[in-house]
Structures are given as structure tokens and as C-alpha cells.
Symmetry: C2
């Protein structure tokens, strides 16, 4: 069932139907790459994981490297599209009705679960992008601008109605990303040091610090 998800998404979006075996190979590649890294993974292991013969991999992907590039399509479909679409709806619709705190909390929690659900895929693509420039380019062209457009426009509207201080918009967006990324990375790599509470409590605190800072205002002169 799990491997159907991707296919449905792709069908639903008018892209060419991806063969069942090809899908299983991609899912297997995500799993193995995320556990061993690209160079540390063996095509034989991916074949085993996908329950196909090793030759089948090379029917669908010319080289092992093509298999890595092939992950970019699942990345944009499974991760990027929901990221963009759901955000647009939620933020823009509910923004006026609810407190900023609530909206941000919901937004952060939503992004958090989306990232956690796609962790192996995201991890693989981001880590390998460090060593393979070809991977970084599509991210710079397709992912980052979309995410920033959303965040920036959200921030801008709050600056305009006086909710937010007049910091540089991009600085505020970057701060939001830093706080969420930092939480995810630190609490998953070093859980014994940084996982203090359930996600919901944590996100609440993060939003609170983001909005109010740590300084005790009673102290100010």
C-alpha cells in the first residue's frame, strides 16, 4: 500500500504513470541511501530491498547516480507540493481569525510532521546535495524560492498590519526556519539532551520565544 501513495500522487497530477517496479526501486533506494549514504549503498542491496533482480534497476535507471537524481521527483511530489499547497490554504485563510500564536503553532506542527514523515527522503537528498552539485540546483530553483515566497509573504503581511517589528523580512523567515530546523536536528540527533517534551509543548515554547524573545522586559531601563 505504502508504495501506492507516490503513484496516486503522480497520476493525480497528470504526470506519466510510474511502473510499479520502478516505484519499488525508488522506495528501496530512499531506504538504503538514508541508512548507508549514496556511496555506501550497494545496488545489490537496493535490489534485494525492492524485491527485484539487480538487472531490473538498470532497466529503469541508466546508472546508480541516475537513481539518486530520480529521488528529486518523489521529493517534489511527496514533500514540496503538500508543503506549498497546504500552507497557502491554511495560513491565508485562518490568518485573520486566529491569534498569531495559534497560527504559528499550527504551521510549525504541520511542517514538523510533514518533515518527520519524509525524513529518509529529505535527509538523503540534502546530505547528498553536499557532494553532488546537480542535486543542489533543482533545490535552489524549485524548493527554496517556493518556500520563501510563502514565508516571506506571511511575514510581510504581519509587518504591514503592525503585528511584527520592522526587521528585514528574509531575516524573520530565516529565523523561523532556523528554529524549526534546529529543533528537528538537535532533538533527533541528540534526543537525550534536547528532547524535553512532546512536540506540541516544544513548538509552543519555540513560537513563544520567536514572538517575545528571552529578555525580561521588566528589567529594561
Amino acid at each position: 500500500m505504502k508504495e501506492k501513495d507516490l503513484n496516486e500522487l503522480i497520476e493525480g497530477s497528470n504526470e506519466e504513470q510510474i511502473a510499479e517496479k520502478k516505484l519499488k526501486i525508488l522506495e528501496a533506494a530512499i531506504k538504503v541511501f538514508s541508512e548507508k549514504g549514496f556511496e555506501g549503498s550497494r545496488t545489490s542491496e537496493i535490489a534485494k530491498e525492492a524485491e527485484v533482480a539487480e538487472g531490473t534497476i538498470f532497466k529503469y535507471f541508466k546508472t546508480k547516480k541516475d537513481l539518486l537524481s530520480g529521488l528529486l521527483i518523489p521529493l517534489s511530489i511527496k514533500f514540496l507540493r503538500p508543503l506549498i499547497m497546504k500552507s497557502a490554504e491554511d495560513i491565508l485563510k485562518k490568518d485573520k481569525e486566529n491569534a498569531t500564536e495559534e497560527i504559528l503553532k499550527e504551521l510549525f506542527l504541520d511542517r514538523l510532521s510533514l518533515i518527520k514523515k519524509n525524513m529518509p527522503l529529505i535527509k538523503t537528498v540534502l546530505v547528498e546535495a553536499i557532494y553532488h552539485d546537480e542535486l543542489l540546483e533543482p533545490i535552489k530553483e524549485q524548493v527554496v524560492p517556493q518556500v520563501l515566497q510563502l514565508l516571506d509573504s506571511y511575514v510581510d503581511s504581519h509587518k504591514q498590519n503592525g503585528d511584527f517589528n520592522d526587521y528585514n523580512t528574509r531575516l524573520i523567515s530565516r529565523t523561523m526556519m532556523s528554529l524549526l530546523m534546529g529543533y528537528i536536528v538537535l532533538s533527533s540527533v541528540f534526543p537525550e539532551f534536547f528532547s524535553l517534551n512532546e512536540d506540541e509543548k516544544e513548538i509552543e515554547s519555540i513560537v513563544d520565544i520567536f514572538l517575545n524573545g528571552v529578555k525580561n522586559k521588566g528589567e529594561q531601563i
Copy 2:
């Protein structure tokens, strides 16, 4: 000259003198690993970079993997020790005399330049720690607790004298780390999107948001 740095540090700290060739091999390994990743690196390339024969590598390191573990020693000496020592001095001494803003700015800038200077080493160890658990353990035992002890005690003292709000200490420490990490990662991986100013201006803004948050207090009811 560059490869002398490490040696001097090690000598100065009463550890055994590291042979010149061994040092060159470690420096070369840091360079090659950081460019290609551990599995993507060839011992032949490391040998070439270090200007030694391939066999020499295996005189000093039993296996290629030992070479990776060997990086942990340079890591703690080149990076961790200065991190701990300089912080302890600076923060604790100047804390009372200067404004919190100034201390934090100096602290962040200092950590930033230390991290940037050791980027290839830090990058390699952190990325490979994802795939090799043996690397993560020393970090969990030697690096993270030390850094946290420092940060936490700094935060605690500011909570006690009323400078900081009564958030969980670890939460505040994590926020500081997230903000700095986020800035470093985002502005070095996606400079065209996130490098807005010189480091000093950026750090000032980060400290300001950390202390005061983004919310416009005039708006509050």
C-alpha cells in the same frame, strides 16, 4: 606551516608527539573526506594530497575507517578545546561589565569564526556520524555535554539575575544553538537567499531577535 598548528597544540597539551607524516595524512583526509564524503574518497587520493605513498597511510592507520576515527582527536583539539576555554574566560569575566547584547554578539561572532575556520573537519565528522555510530558516541560524551554546560550556566546566571525570562534553561540554550547553526547552514548552502549582510550585522540582528522576539509590543492588548 598549516600542518604545524595541530602538532603544536598536541605538544602543548602533553599528548604524544604526532609524526609529521601522520599529521599530513590527517590533514589530507580532512580535505578529501570533506569534498567527497568518506565512502566517496579514495585512499590513493588522500595519499596524493598528503604527498606520501599509499602504503604509508596503512603504516599509521590500520584501515580507512581508522582514518575517519582518527579525525576525532584533531576535532577535540582544534575545535572543542578552544571552544570551551575561550568561552569560559570571556563570558564569565566580561559578563558583569558589559551589556548582554554586546556579550552575546561577541560570543556568537567568536563561535562563528571558530566554526568557519574548522568547517571541513566539523562537516566531515558530523555528516559521517550520521552513518557511523562509533563517531556519534564520542561527540555525545565529549562535545555536547561540555558545550551545554557552558551555555546552560551562562543562561542560568542570567535567569537568576532577572535578565532572562523563566524559560527552561535547556530550551534557551537550544534556541541559541539553533539560531547560530541555522544562520551558518542556510547562508553557506544557499548564499543567494540567506546572506543578507556581513556576518557582524547578521549576528547583531540574530541576537536582537533572540532577546526581544519579533512581536511588536505596542500592538499588545
